[in-house]
């Protein structure tokens, strides 16, 4: 005999493993044992096979690999003795699962054992089959199991019944073979057989409508009678639990009745009496009784309506809800959730109690109650319920806050009756649990505030107040910072005061203080700080008195280790120092954010629906495919829907907000938009002449100089521009020996596509031109609108001019530049003259 395999007994091995002090020690012991077992396996040692398998099972339970023992199970099962088979089947169920191919090899042994003369061996085979059979095995062995449903010993019949459940779940086609034998099991007296028979019928109903019809027709009355007998039976010590005879059977009968009664008035009618009896008679002071009542309520709720029974059921749930036992309250909440579809009114009556449960100390109960409250909310009760929920937010622990916050935000958004209420509630949530609020939620809040023009002042003051008290909530700080940046003047001047507001005195420097705090706060994250920098830039023009201080604060970030901040700081500093003339236009208030676009994008980008979210690329008219979640430019092209969207990547809404902050005032973005380098780069174009580009981090570190060049390339010098006024030099669009036409070009702020042109005509000849008429034609991608001319007579020799304005809309803005054909007709001494020409020397990017 192998010196290793003779080794230890099972008991000794367990003891050795238990005495190990460290995991390493344990591994060593297990390794040694496994080596011994492997050796025994390879020697085909028969004497200790069952002991080795038992050891392997223990090792398996500790989580070590034991696949090498799988074949041993099969060998033990194939041997003739009961002890070997017993341990073999146990090993089979423990070490293998139904996916393993090895399992197929056992089919034959199972078949033999199912036909064995020893009923305990049949029992073992049925047990293994019921626990791990695969679809193939189910097909092969179904006839044997079907036959065993009529076996003489009830203990085999009950095992066969449960085994059949597994078979029909695996292969629903086989269900019809089991309908008749299952029905006959319902007439049995043996509780085990009855329980398993009822269970088999229940599962048959689930997989086969034919079975459902059959049982409904043939068995409903019998089942009602069985339940009645049970409910009225005298004390039966063998099945008694807490004074009730076999609650398990009670529950299974009620379950089957539920399925039979669902959607069938006759069957439901048939069981009304017994359900009423169970609901009223069962004692509810022990768990077993409550389990039956709970099941009974479920059945009453599911079967066809019977008013009286429903009242009974709701009352039971009401009692459950006020029970001191947490388990009972939990199941009550669970059942109320189902009852809400049946009788919402009745559930509403328990609202107060349910709200109490949201504050419970038990996480399971809190979660269930919250789910239920969420279903209870409607337009009429959203205000009080939200108030309650926000109150419970204060009391809840960190883990629950996240769930609760998400639910509250969703409710407030869904049912908010008016904007001011929405803003108020969101403010409360932000100040209480701002750190748990998701990005899209506070983005939505900003969009709403931006849209409620009469509430701008109110919002910024309320946010300022909230900010003063709770600076720890990141998202609150962000929204506050954004609003102070945008509506800082309203904060200081108390613009748009509502009656309900208390007046508040905030000086300009207080507002700047707030922003400074949020930059210097240790736990502010990058986004917040970046937002605060932008807000400061905006305030610099709103509060001239503070502009020096603002410059200082911005400059402090010049040496920030965070690239984004450093970059912003330097850029903004440039704007403050060198570009005074455009600053105020640059930092104007943002245009109203488009709610529809935002919510549409939110819906599109949220992974709520599996089928719709897969790669829907919208095609824009100009053929640029836009990624579904591309968020950036939509905010910009508020009026021009078919403008080419600058391609953007990622769902970085925040960057959009920030990037946008700067641009729309005077800058038509996209006029010379270079392709975006990466997510981080936010592009801002200034008047189409130059672009202030915050380069992508990698680019910046390499070349800070180009960025400065871009800024400085703004024009020959800022001074000169101040004199000249328009940002574009005037150009001579047409000149002949007799006539000169000069264009003064300007852009409309915030609208990159539109170019305003002022045409000035000068007479170079000594003759007066009468009936002067200027006509122009443009290609299809342009739209031209001509205003009336200042006069139709052009004085001779340049002693005056005719001025005519026109507006050109470029739908291919950024891709094609302007071009125009002109025709000028006039009369010299009543003689018609016609001049024609083409203007193609427009500046690019118009």
């Amino acid at each position: 005999m192998n010196p290793f395999s003779s080794g230890t007994r099972l008991r000794d091995m367990i003891r050795a493993i238990r005495s190990c002090k460290t995991a390493a020690e344990e591994r060593a012991v297990v390794r040694k044992e496994c080596a011994a077992i492997r050796a025994a396996i390879s020697e085909n040692d028969q004497d200790y096979r069952h002991r080795n398998l038992a050891k392997l099972m223990f090792i398996h339970m500790l989580g070590y690999p034991t696949h090498f023992g799988q074949m041993e199970c099969l060998k033990l099962i194939a041997s003739s003795g009961f002890p070997e088979k017993r341990i073999g089947y146990l090993g089979l169920m423990l070490l293998l699962d139904e996916r393993q191919e090895v399992l197929m090899l056992v089919t034959n042994s199972l078949k033999q054992d199912l036909n064995h003369s020893n009923q305990y061996i049949i029992g073992l085979a049925l047990c293994a089959l019921g626990n791990i059979c695969s679809a193939e095995m189910a097909r092969d062995l179904a006839p044997e199991v079907e036959r065993l449903l009529q076996f003489r010993d009830p203990n085999i019949r009950k095992k066969a019944a449960l085994c059949s459940i597994r078979i029909i779940k695996k292969v629903p086609d086989l269900a019809e073979n089991f309908i008749n034998p299952a029905a006959s099991l319902l007439r049995e007296k043996h509780h085990g057989v009855l329980i398993t028979g009822v269970q088999l019928c229940t599962d048959l109903c689930k997989v086969s409508s034919e079975a459902l019809e059959y049982f409904r027709e043939k068995c409903t009355e019998g089942l009602v009678k069985t339940l009645k007998d049970m409910a009225n039976s005298p004390y039966a010590p063998e099945y008694d639990i807490a004074g009730i005879t076999d609650p398990f059977l009670h529950i299974r009968l009620l379950k089957l009745l539920r399925i039979l009664g669902q959607g069938d008035a006759d069957a439901s009618d048939c069981m009304n009496d017994i359900l009423a009896q169970v609901a009223t008679k069962i004692e509810s002071n022990k768990n077993a009784g409550n389990a039956i009542l709970y099941e009974c309520v479920g059945t009453i709720m599911s079967i066809e309506d019977n008013g009286g029974l429903r009242v009974l059921a709701i009352n039971i749930l009401g009692r459950f809800l006020s029970n001191r036992d947490n388990n009972i309250r939990y199941v009550a909440l669970n059942m109320l959730m189902k009852a809400i579809t049946v009788d919402a009114q009745a559930v509403q009556r328990h609202r107060a109690t349910i709200l109490e449960c949201v504050k419970d100390s038990d996480a399971s109960i809190r979660k269930k109650a919250l789910d239920l409250v969420y279903l209870l909310v409607n337009e009429s009760n959203v205000k009080p319920l939200t108030k309650e929920l926000i109150e419970s937010l204060e009391a809840s622990d960190q883990e629950f806050k996240g769930v609760l916050t998400a639910k509250i935000c969703s409710l407030v958004e869904k049912f908010s009756p008016e904007k001011i209420w929405y803003i108020d509630q969101m403010l409360k949530v932000l100040s209480e649990a701002g750190n748990f609020v998701k990005d899209e939620v506070w983005h939505a809040l900003i969009v709403v505030i931006s849209n409620a023009s009469d509430l701008h002042g109110y919002s910024v003051r309320a946010l300022y107040r909230a900010f003063q008290t709770s600076t720890e909530q990141e998202t609150l700080v962000r929204v506050a910072v954004w609003c102070i940046g945008e509506y800082g003047d309203m904060l200081v001047n108390n613009v748009g005061m509502l009656d309900i507001e208390e007046p508040i005195t905030v000086t300009e420097s207080d507002a700047v203080d707030a922003l400074e705090v949020s930059i210097k706060r240790l736990n502010s994250d990058l986004t917040t700080k970046a937002m605060a920098l932008i807000a400061l830039l905006k305030l610099s023009s709103r509060f001239p008195s503070c502009s020096e201080r603002i410059k200082d604060i911005i400059l402090q970030n010049k040496r920030s280790f965070v690239l984004e901040l450093q970059q912003r700081s330097i850029e903004f500093n440039c704007i403050l120092q060198k570009h005074q003339n455009i600053r105020s236009a640059l930092v104007e208030r943002m245009p109203v954010l488009d709610e529809a676009t935002f919510s549409g994008r939110r819906a599109g980008s949220l992974p709520t629906s599996v089928s719709t979210s897969t790669g829907t690329a919208r095609n824009l008219p100009n053929g640029i495919a836009k990624p579904a979640a591309a968020p950036v430019a939509d905010l910009l092209d508020l009026s021009s829907s078919d403008a080419p969207a600058p391609s953007s990547s990622g769902g970085d809404f925040l960057q959009d907000l920030l990037g946008v902050d700067l641009s729309p005032a005077s800058a038509p973005p996209g006029t010379s938009q270079p392709p975006k380098a990466d997510d981080k780069a936010s592009l801002v174009n200034l008047n189409g002449l130059a672009s202030l580009t915050s380069l992508s981090p990698n680019a910046t570190s390499a070349s800070p100089a180009p960025m400065m060049d871009l800024l400085d390339g703004f024009g020959p010098s800022p001074q000169k521009k101040e004199e000249n006024g328009p940002a574009y030099p005037s150009l001579v669009a047409y000149e002949s020996s007799t006539l000169r036409m000069t264009f003064n070009i300007s852009k409309q702020p915030g609208n990159p596509q539109i170019t305003l042109i002022q045409a000035i005509f000068t007479n170079l000849s000594p003759n007066v031109y009468n009936d002067f008429l200027f006509q122009a034609a443009v290609p299809k991608f342009l739209q031209l609108h001509l205003d009336p001319a200042s006069s139709n007579t052009l004085p001779a020799s340049g002693n005056g001019s005719i001025i005519q304005s026109m507006k050109v809309t470029n739908s291919q803005h950024g891709k094609k530049s302007l071009v125009m054909r002109i025709r000028i007709a006039y009369k010299i001494n009543n003689k018609d003259v016609l001049e024609e020409g083409q203007v193609s020397n427009f500046p690019r990017d118009l």
Partner: protein, 231 residues
């Protein structure tokens, strides 16, 4: 290997769609998993891309099966220290999933306070647990199942163990773990309750134990005879 997002998506599917889900699962199994058109039908009706379905048919079938079966999916005995004392899987879980489940649930259940309710919502299923001395008995069931009854089943199991071992303790279950399994197999089969009478279970176990004893005696007497004959 199953992809993470697909898994979470499934958990999000609302309860009404479960029936649909299950029916499609049947079709898939009928067509031996690999049938493309069945996967496409499923795609249309339940919104899981056909490509995902046919890539992970095993996973989805297992999942359909779990959804379909209103029953006990697994039984778990964990000690106070988080050591596993007994596991029984009635629904298909791969070895990897099993370890994950045990680790995850152990973390959740062992950390719950003493007077809280005995139910934990877990990955779309419910786990009913009860502590007896140093052992936690856990059973995983469906959303629709009767939690209170499962508590009763756990107690039923404990009482039977108690009778068999004579006031059972954790050590009994460690050294005689196989016996605990035998008892469980007489109580539950295919994730369903098999017997509501403690007496019957005890009788069946005793009968089988005595079969083993007789076999052992026979074996030793035979070896005695052989030993004597060869003397």
């Amino acid at each position: 290997p199953l992809s993470k997002p697909a898994q979470t998506q499934i958990y999000q599917i609302r309860f009404e769609s479960v029936e649909l889900f299950v029916n499609e699962g049947f079709k898939l199994s009928k067509y031996k998993y690999r049938n493309r058109s069945a996967a496409t039908a499923a795609e249309i009706r339940i919104g899981i891309p056909a490509s995902v379905l046919s890539e992970n048919p095993d996973f989805y079938l297992d999942f359909f099966f779990r959804l379909l079966s209103r029953m006990i999916h697994f039984v778990l005995l964990i000690s106070r220290q988080g050591k596993v004392r007994l596991t029984k899987w009635y629904s298909p879980y791969s070895q990897k999933e099993r370890t994950k489940v045990i680790r995850e649930l152990g973390g959740v259940i062992l950390n719950r306070g003493p007077k809280l309710c005995n139910f934990v919502d877990w990955r779309g299923f419910k786990v009913v647990y009860k502590r007896y001395a140093s052992l936690y008995f856990c059973m995983c069931i469906d959303q629709d199942d009767n939690e209170l009854e499962v508590l009763e089943i756990i107690h039923h199991f404990v009482e039977i163990l108690d009778r068999y071992f004579g006031s059972v303790c954790e050590l009994d279950l460690i050294f005689n773990f196989h016996k605990a399994y035998y008892i469980l197999d007489e109580l539950l089969l295919a994730g369903e309750l098999q017997e509501s009478s403690k007496k019957t279970v005890a009788r069946l176990i005793a009968a089988q134990d005595s079969l083993v004893e007789t076999a052992k005696e026979q074996a030793s007497s035979i070896s005695n005879i052989i030993a004597q004959a060869t003397k």
